[in-house]
């Protein structure tokens, strides 16, 4: 029996392969269908590079920036892997938009594909959530400022806004708790939701079958059918190679930058979000005062609602784009609007001399920081792991505990450790004068363990005993 047969009996992999690869595609394979698989490739890139980045990253306001700087400047291939991750997030948004547009233009959300579409939209929001939470983690000026602005926008939501902002930030201000929760969302919660939604998305896609090109029902039925493998698989695969090559070239040619550490007290810093949030950033500029709730909350919420609910109200079976002027027209309007807003933002920044100069200065500051050599974070280690307020005799005892080499066998603070003897609660084990006696003349068990008689003046020994009582029982 071959290994293949042996595995087949236990796993049934041939049937799985058949299920996976022989999915019929009406109207044959097309380059237009590569984006879904493309997203899977980028997702794999994000997962692998993300897991490796977690080897060095520390999610705390004290260390986040230093560890990202360490990754970028010190660790072998660190700048490269961090760049793969950060460019990957941009590419994810690009391919996601292409996937969305292709599905939209082809009318592929029609014909009992409402849930498939719904999970796609849900994944879209989750991906935006990933880029939002991930952007903060380096904790540099740009990350801090962009997240401060974004979380402030959330507080515009009526009734729950302020609560939501405080919840997201883990407090009224941004700080170390913000990093912790953004980190947990970024590496645990949202990825788990993505995996679950992705599984359902793919399952529903397979269940509904490939939609094929946008044409009439009758013509679609007459079109030749081709299995997913080999042609479509190879097209998807070729796209995957292009993605990896593109990411590698970008990561090597222009490594992702890191600015100076976030400084909340710097009011002159001009925040600018990642490029794909720029249109929304620009949009928000047009709204102020009581009307801002319309621009900031109502209109975006309505657009997302329309997007989610699309297959529920666009019920006509017509899929040909030229026969769907409203659908295609509104799509062009929204995308045209977003592109226009993005372009406006860049030109406004360029035309305002003060803003332009400030942004250039910030870029220059970032370049200087990137070029500066890495210096590790200096920590002065405490000699004892317990920081306690000690009385004068106790602190004398603490010094003697170290200088008389007690700590050598009992560990710092008599806490024991590998190969060390942890001290019991001395006051209850040897009550009254017993303790002093046993220290001057250790018993057999103690001597066996290597304990030596303590030769100290009486008041010095009292200091040691006072200290021992503090560290073994507390106060």
């Amino acid at each position: 029996m071959s290994i293949g047969d042996w595995m087949e009996r236990r796993v049934g992999w041939r049937r799985l392969m058949h299920e996976g690869l022989d999915e019929p595609i009406p109207g044959r394979s097309r380059w237009a269908y590569i984006f879904g698989s493309g997203l899977l490739f980028v997702f794999m890139n994000q997962a692998v590079t993300g897991v490796f980045l977690a080897l060095y990253y520390v999610p705390s306001a004290d260390h986040a920036h230093k560890t990202v700087e360490f990754i970028s400047k010190q660790v072998s291939a660190g700048a490269f892997i961090r760049s793969l991750h950060s460019y990957g997030s941009s590419l994810m948004v690009v391919i996601l938009l292409l996937h969305l547009l292709q599905t939209y233009i082809y009318g592929a959300y029609k014909n009992r594909r409402e849930l498939l579409w719904l999970f796609g939209c849900f994944l879209f929001v989750l991906v935006l959530g990933m880029s939002f939470t991930g952007y903060l983690l380096p904790w540099d000026q740009k990350a801090y400022a962009a997240t401060a602005v974004a979380t402030n926008i959330i507080s515009e939501v009526p009734l729950v806004g302020n609560g939501l902002k405080t919840f997201l930030r883990g407090g009224t201000e941004m700080g170390t708790l913000t990093i912790s929760r953004f980190f947990a969302m970024h590496i645990l919660m949202i990825p788990a939701a993505i995996v679950a939604a992705l599984a359902l998305h793919v399952f529903l896609f397979r269940r509904a079958g490939a939609a094929g090109p946008p044409t009439t029902e009758d013509k679609l039925r007459a079109l030749p059918v081709e299995p997913f493998y080999p042609r479509q698989v190879l097209k998807d695969f070729a796209f995957g190679l292009v993605i990896i090559a593109l990411l590698m070239v970008l990561a090597m040619a222009r490594p992702t930058s890191l600015g100076p550490m976030a400084n909340p007290s710097d009011p002159t810093y001009l925040p600018r979000p990642e490029w794909y949030y720029i249109p929304i950033f620009q949009w928000l500029k047009y709204w102020s005062g009581p009307a801002s709730i319309i621009g900031i909350v109502v209109i975006p919420a309505l657009l997302f609602l329309l997007l989610f609910a699309l297959p529920f109200f666009d019920r006509s079976p017509e899929r040909r784009p030229h026969k769907r002027p409203i659908a295609i027209g509104s799509m062009l309007l929204v995308f045209g609007g977003l592109v226009w807003l993005g372009a406006r933002s860049y030109t406004e920044d360029r035309r305002d001399p003060a803003v332009h100069a400030r942004l250039l200065a910030q870029e220059e500051e970032e370049r200087r920081f990137a070029a500066a050599p890495f210096a590790p974070e200096e920590v002065t280690a405490a000699t004892s792991s317990t920081v306690q307020k000690l009385t004068a005799p106790e602190s004398k005892g603490a010094l003697l505990f170290v200088s008389e080499s007690c700590a050598g066998c009992h560990g710092p603070g008599a806490k024991g450790g590998a190969g060390l003897f942890r001290l019991p609660n001395v006051a209850t084990t040897f009550p009254g004068e017993q303790l002093k006696a046993i220290l001057r003349k250790p018993n057999a068990t103690m001597t066996e363990g290597g304990m030596e008689p303590i030769v100290l003046k009486d008041d010095d020994l009292d200091g040691v005993i006072a200290y021992l009582k503090v560290i073994t029982q507390g106060r």
Partner: protein, 172 residues
């Protein structure tokens, strides 16, 4: 369905895709492995020279206790710990700086002026004023540290040694 691709062609394309995918995966694995194994290639380096003070301060032949700040780098952070050293002289009066770590089991060894010996309080290891082994369970004398004198200042480079070996072995 269109007639299926000839079987050999199908499996050839599949093998090709797997081969290319494997090659790309292998290339991508190189930076990832180098990234993950960085700490194995960077163990913090050796300590820097630490000034102990003017060399004249140590003219007396009685060993003098001094503290050395030892800076240790772990990736992105550097910790500074204090270590005890004994400044003393060897048999012909040349300056020596000894690590206070007992070569037996690593206790810190104090100087007993009344005995004119170093006596380890843990297991009675006795050392002479220049650090040589006198008696006890220790395998060798106290370890002497690299020193230099520059512009009248004594510098020491702190090192950690392996315990229980007859010859000193620097471990960091």
């Amino acid at each position: 369905m269109t007639p299926a691709e000839p079987k050999t062609r199908r499996s050839f394309l599949g093998t090709l895709a797997i081969a290319i995918g494997g090659a790309v995966g292998a290339v991508m694995a190189i930076p990832l492995i180098r990234f993950a194994t960085w700490p194995m290639r960077h163990n913090g380096g050796s300590a820097a020279w630490f000034p102990l003070g003017a060399v004249d301060k140590f003219a007396d032949t009685t060993p003098v206790r001094a503290e050395v700040e030892v800076r240790k780098t772990e990736g992105w952070r550097a910790t500074v710990t204090k270590q005890t050293v004994w400044v003393t002289h060897d048999g012909v009066g040349k300056l020596r700086v000894l690590s206070a770590v007992c070569t037996h089991l690593g206790c810190i060894v104090p100087w007993k002026p009344e005995l004119k010996q170093f006596v380890c309080p843990c297991h009675h290891a006795f050392y002479s004023a220049d650090g040589a082994k006198l008696s006890g369970p220790q395998p060798r004398g106290l370890d002497s540290l690299p020193i230099k004198v520059e512009n009248g200042t004594l510098f020491v480079k702190y090192q950690y040694f392996r315990q229980l070996t007859p010859k000193p072995e620097v471990i960091g």
